[in-house]
Symmetry: D3
Subunit: 287 residues, 6 copies
C-alpha cells in the first residue's frame, strides 16, 4: 500500500535523488512525447507532473510533441483519407491544414494547459514562432506532398522561453522561406532541437520498454547501447521496423553533441523521473 509510505522512506527517496538533481541542475533536457505513448488523460497528467517537477528542481525541460492519433481522428471527421507511404503520411494541402491545426492548436495547447494546471509555467510554440524550425520539402522517390525536412533550427525562441522561466512545448510544424508550412517528424525534430541546444539528454517517450533483444520479451531489454554498436544491432535485426527511425534519432543526437539519448516507456507511470532521478534506468540509454 503506497499510502502508508513512512516518513523515513519518503526522506530516503528524496535524499537518494540528490546526486541526480545536482547532476542535472541548469542542464537542458529535451523530451519527445506523443503518438501512442501519449495514452489517456491520467497518464498524460502524470507525465506533465514529472515535467513540472524536473523544471522546478532546476532542469531546463523542453517538451517536443507529435500527435498522430489526434490527426487521424480529425482527418476522419473532415472526411480526408489518411495515406501513408513508407510509414510517412502523404500530406496534401487540406491534410497539412488539419495537421497544423491539430498539432499547434489542439495537442500543443492542451499540453500547455495541463502543465499550467500542475502549476508549471509553460508556453506553446511551433516551428513558425520566431521562425524556429526552417524546413523544405523532403526529397523522396515518391512524392510526399508537404512532408518537410529540417534545414536549420533557430534556438533563440526556445532559449528566450527557458530564460524567462517557461517550459517550451513545441509542435513540430516547419516553415520554409516562402512561408509554406511543412509536416515534420517529431522524433527527428526533437533530435535536431536537442543537438542545436547542446542538450544533456534526449528522451524519447515511446510505447515500448526500450530496445529489446527479442522484441516479444521485455526481459531482454538492452539497458545501454554505445552508438558505435548500432550498425551491428541493425544488421542483426535487433533494431528493426518502427524502432529504426527512433534509434537513428538517438544516434544522431549523440553524434551531434547530446550526452545521452534514451528510449523509455511513456506508459509506465513516472518513467522519466525514474530514469533521471534514480540509480537504475528503466529503458535503453544511447551514449
Amino acid at each position: 500500500m503506497i499510502d502508508s509510505v513512512s516518513d523515513e522512506l519518503r526522506a530516503k527517496v528524496l535524499v537518494d535523488a540528490l546526486p541526480y538533481i545536482q547532476n542535472y541542475t541548469n542542464k537542458v533536457i529535451v523530451i519527445k512525447y506523443g503518438g501512442s505513448a501519449m495514452g489517456d488523460d491520467s497518464v498524460k497528467v502524470d507525465v506533465m507532473r514529472d515535467v513540472v517537477l524536473l523544471s522546478l528542481i532546476g532542469i531546463k525541460v523542453v517538451l517536443v510533441h507529435g500527435g498522430g492519433p489526434e490527426i487521424n481522428d480529425m482527418l476522419k471527421k473532415v472526411g480526408i483519407q489518411s495515406k501513408f507511404i513508407n510509414g510517412l503520411r502523404y500530406t496534401d494541402e487540406p491534410t497539412m491544414e488539419v495537421v497544423q491545426m491539430v498539432l499547434a492548436g489542439k495537442v500543443n495547447k492542451d499540453l500547455v494547459s495541463l502543465l499550467g494546471q500542475c502549476n508549471g509555467k509553460a508556453i506553446g510554440l511551433c516551428g513558425v514562432d520566431g521562425m524556429m524550425i526552417k524546413a523544405e520539402k523532403l526529397q523522396s522517390e515518391q512524392d510526399l506532398g508537404l512532408v518537410g525536412e529540417i534545414t536549420s533550427i533557430n534556438t533563440e525562441p526556445i532559449l528566450d522561453a527557458l530564460n524567462n522561466g517557461y517550459i517550451p512545448v513545441i509542435a513540430t510544424i516547419g516553415v520554409s522561406e516562402d512561408a509554406t508550412m511543412y509536416n515534420i517528424n517529431a522524433d527527428t525534430a526533437a533530435a535536431k532541437i536537442a543537438a542545436a541546444l547542446g542538450a544533456e539528454n534526449l528522451i524519447l517517450l515511446t510505447d515500448t520498454r526500450g530496445l529489446l533483444r527479442d522484441k516479444d520479451d521485455e526481459e531482454t531489454l538492452i539497458p545501454v547501447v554505445n552508438v558505435s554498436e548500432v550498425p551491428k544491432l541493425v544488421k542483426e535485426g535487433i533494431v528493426s521496423g518502427g524502432m529504426i527511425p527512433k534509434v537513428e534519432c538517438c544516434v544522431e543526437a549523440v553524434r551531434r553533441g547530446v550526452k545521452r539519448s534514451f528510449i523509455i516507456d511513456g506508459r509506465i507511470n513516472h518513467s522519466i523521473l525514474i530514469e533521471m532521478l534514480s540509480h537504475e534506468g528503466i529503458g535503453t540509454m544511447f551514449l
Copy 2:
C-alpha cells in the same frame, strides 16, 4: 501613377511621419484584427507589413485576432451546425475543440508566418500560454456553453515576448482554473489586454469606415468621440447593432487607462499606418 513617386515626395512623406514616430516610440499599441476585416490574403499581407513597420520603428505592437469566418468554414467541414444566441456563438465541447484548433492552430500561426515572411519576429500565443487569459463561464440568460468571460489578464507572457523583441500574436482562448478552455470575444479580449498593458492605443480593425452618423453614408464619419458622449450617441441610435459592442470595448479601454481607442477600416490598404503616422486619421477616435 504611384510608381512615379518622386524622390522628393518620398522623403517628404518619411519626414512628415517623424513627429508621429517620435510620439509612439516604445509605446504599446494593441491592434485587434480579424473577422470580416481580415479579408483576402493580399490585404492580410499589407496589414502584416504595417505591423512590422510599426514594430521596426520602435513601437511595441501586440496583435490580437479572432477568426469567425475560418471557424465557420471548419465547423461546416466537420458537420457541426453553427448556432448563435444574441450574436454569440453557442459553444458546446465539439465546437470549442474546433474554435481552439482554428484560432490557436490555424489563424494564429498563419499570421505569425506572414509576419515572419515580412521579416518580422513574431510569436503566437493563446490565453493558455503562461496562463495569460484567465476566464470563467459567461453568465447569461440563455446558456451559451463554453463562451467565457475574462476574469484576469496575466501580462507577463506578453511583456516577456515584447522585451525579447517579438511581436506577440494572441488567439483569444481563455482558460479556467480547472483547465477548461473558453471561447472569448476577441474585441473584448483586445480591450482588456490593452488596459492591462497600459497601452497607448487600442485599434479595432473593422469592415466599416468607423462610426457613421448615417450608417449608409461614409461621408458622415465621426472622426473624434469623447467617451462621455457615447451614451447620448447610443440613445440617438447612432451607435447601434454590431457597432455597440465595438464602441463599448473602445470606451472601456479608455476608461481603464488606454489613451486612445480607434475603430478604423481594415479593408483600406495601410489604414493603420495612415491613422498612426499621418496628420489626418481615417476612422473614429475615442478619447
Copy 3:
C-alpha cells in the same frame, strides 16, 4: 526493507513533494542547528544532506548554529571552569576567546566542510563578517561578562552569499562598535536573522519532538500553535523550562513577519525534509 523501494514508490514520493517544492521556491528558510540536537557525525551528515537538497531545489537556506557542547569541551581542555547564571554562560575574556574560536573556527568550518562534501556550495560567516551582527553588552541583574544582545542585523553579507549561490553558515558571534566580540544566543540570533530577512520559515532543530502537552509523553505533541495562545500555554506550565526561550524565539519571529516557525526534532533522520516536503509535519508549528 528500505532497499527494496520500488521505482513506482520512488516516483510517487518525488511527485508528492511537488506542491511543497513549488511553495518554497526562492523563499528564505532559516534553520537553527546546534547544541545537543547536533548529535554525532552521521546525523550531522544527514542534516547537511537535507540542507543541500533544499538548496538545490531552489530554496534559499540559511544555517545558523551554536556549539555549546564543543565550547564546554574546549574550555575544559584549557582549564576554564564553565559558569552558568540563569542558564546563560558567564563569559569573561578568556572564555569569550574560546567561544569565538570554537564557534567561528571549529563548528562553523566543520559544517561548511560537511556541506562541501555533500556537493553543497557553502560559506562560513560570523557576526563580524561584513559587520553582520551588531551587539552590545546584555544588561541583566547579575553581570554576565561578554554575553551580548543583538542591536541590529545587517542582512547584506547574507544576501550577497545567497545571491552568489552559497549556503550561508552563521556562527553567532556579535560585535560592538568598538570591536568587542560578544557571545550571542544562537536561537535568538536565528530568530532575528529570520525576521530581518523576511524569511518564510524559521526552523529550530532541537532534541525534543516539539512542544508536548505532557513533557514526558511524546504522544501529546501539539502540532500547531497560534502565537496568540502562547501566554496561556506558559501560564498552564506547558511551555516551561528550556522550552520557554525557544518558544519565545518562534513567537518573536512570527510577530516580526516570518510566516511560520517550527520546533522539530533534529535527532530524527531527515526531520527537516519531512517537515517541509510532506503532508504531515513532525514537530510543532507556530503561526
Copy 4:
C-alpha cells in the same frame, strides 16, 4: 503639388522603406557634413531632420562635421589672413585657437541644438573629449603648423554616447599626448571613425551630385564604383581635383571594413533619406 499627397501614397512610401529600415536596424552610419554642403539654415534643418529620423528608426547615426566657411568668417573678424598650402590651411597658434572655437564651440553646438529642436537627443564632442582623436603633427614638405594627422581613434566616447541613446556630433579637433590641439581634415576623420566603429556606411555629404564621368554634366553620374577601379578612374582623370581626397576617404573606409561609402549631394533635400531608404541611390556608392 506635394500637399495633396494621398493617404494611399503616404502609406506606400512608408512601406517601401521597410526593407531598407530592416537592413539598417542597429547598424552604425557615419555621416560627414560640412563645408559648402552645409548651406543655409533651411537645408541644415532638413539634414538634421533626416538624421533624427534615421536615429528614431533604430539606426546608430554618428555625425562628423567640418566648418571651413565659418572658420574663414571668424578669421576675417579677428583679422587673421587665411593661408592655404596644397589645399590645406596653414594653421599657426592664433588660427588654431579660432579653428577650435568655431568647430567645437560654434558649428558643433549649433548642430546639436538643431537636432534637439527636431527632438533628437544629441551630444557634441570633439577629439579632446575622452581623448577620442589622438593626433600628431602632419609631416609634409612645407610646414603646415598645427595641421594634424590621426594616430588613433578611441571609440569609447562614441560608443558610450550611442549606447546611452545620443546622436554623437563630432568636431574634428585632434589632440596629442602633450595636449597640443590639431586641425584635422573632417573627411579623413569621418573615414577613420567609420572604420574604427566598423560602420555599415560612410556618407560624405558634398556639394556635387557624386562622381561624374564628365564633371560638367550631372547626367554622367557614376552610381557604383568598386574600390578596385579607383586607380584607373584617377588615371583617366575622372577622379580629379577636390574629388581626389574625398574618393580616397571612401576607398580607405571600405578597405578597412566599412561596407559601403557614399558621396552624395547635401544640397538636395533629404538626399540621405533617399539614398538610404529607397531603391535608387542618388549619388555614387563605393564598395
Copy 5:
C-alpha cells in the same frame, strides 16, 4: 624643504585622509571654477590634478566653469565693446556668438584636454548637449539681450557621463525651446546643477579666501556660516558687493538639498584637496 618629505610623513598624510575619502565615496561634488580664480596655466594644472585625484578615489566630480576674462579677450579681438549692466554683461547676438565659442569651444575643451593630460577621463558638455540647461530670457528692468535664466536642469547627460566614468566639464550655455542660446551665470548654474543632482557639496573656487568679517583682513575669515545667519550678515554689510551673488548661490544650493557649500580660494595650491581631505577647512563653509 618639501622634497625631503619623509616616508613616515607621507604615510601619515595619506592615512589622515582616510576618513574624508570614506565619507565622500560615490558622492557627487560640483566644483565651480573660472573667472579670475582660474589664474595661470600652472595653477590650472594643479586644480585639474586635484579633480582627477578626487575622481580616482571614487568621488563623482562635476566641473562647471565660466570664462569671463577669455570672453573679454576675444570680444576685444573681434572689436566688440563689452558693456555691463548691474554687473551682468549685455549680450547682443554677436556677443552671444563669441560667448558660446569661447566657453563651449575654447575654455571647456582646454579644461577637458588638461584633465586628459593628468590621465583623467573627461568629457566637455554645454547646456545644449542633451538639452541639459533649459533657459529663457532673464527678465530685468533694463534689457540684457541674451542673458538667460535657467528654467530647468536635465540631469540625464551629466549622470550618463558620470556613470560611464567621465568627469563632466560643463560650459554654462543655456538653450530655449526655440533653440536660442543664452548666456548663463556660471555660479548660478553650478548651484542649480548641484541641487538637481542632490550633490553632497558645491564648491565655488574664487579669488578670495572666503567670507571675511573685515574684507581687508584675511585673518577675519568666517569658517562656518549657517544659511539662516546670512540675512543678518548681509544687513551688517559683511556680505556685500560681488560676494552677494556667490553667497546667494551657496545658500540656494543648501536650501535645495546640497549638504554643504563652500567658498574657497582657487589661487591657493590644492585648496580643494585641503578643504575636502583634511581636518581644517581653508575657506567658508555654508550649511
Copy 6:
C-alpha cells in the same frame, strides 16, 4: 614634528600619490600578513588602516594571514607540545584542531573585526569556504601529519567577495576531497592565490627590511631582484635560512604571472602605503 604638517605639504603628498593610484586602480593585490610581522595591536591597526585605504582608492586587496605565535600560545594552553621538523610544524589531529580554531576562528575574525573598525567592509574566509583551497597531505621524508600541500585554488569565493565590495581575509586552512583539513603554509598559499587571481602584486609583510646582502646590515638592502638572479643569490648564501622559502614564494608568483612580488618590513609603520604609493620602495622587489 608631524602634527605641524602644513596644508601645502599634505596636498603635495596626496598629489604625488596620484600616478600610483592610477596605476593600481582595479588591480588585485595579495598581501600576506602574519607571524612575527604581525606584532602588537597598534601596528596591526596601522596595517589594517593601510589595507582599507588601498581598498577605498579602488585597489582590490586580498589579505592572507598565518598565525604561528597565536597557535603556539593556544597549544601551550591546551597542553600540546609543539614539534617542528625542518621548520614545519608536525600536525597531528589535536594540533590541527587547534590550528583550525586559532586561524579561522581567532586570527581571521580579529582581523576582519579590526578592518570593520576602520570602516572597511571585510569578510573572513578559510580554504573550506566554497572549497577554495583544495589540498592533500604533503609528501615528505619524515611524516608531518596533517601538513598539506595545495592542489588547486578555486578563485570563485574570492572573486565573489571582491565583486561584492568586500576585502577577503583568508585563513590558510586547506581541505581534501574527503573533508580532511590541512595546515597550509601561509606564504605558499598567498603566492598560489596571487597566481590564480592573476594579481598585480604579491606583498609579503615580514619582520626584516627585505633581502639584505649582509644580513646584519640593513644598509645593504637589495631593492630590486630579477627572478633569474635568484639561483645565484642562493648559491652566494645571500638568500639563506628562513629567507629561502619566502624568496621562493616571490619567485613562483612572478613565474606564474604576478607582475611583481615584494618582501617588505611589516613592523615599519605604513610600509605598504610607502611601497605602493610613493616613488621609492622600502623593501625588496622581485620581477
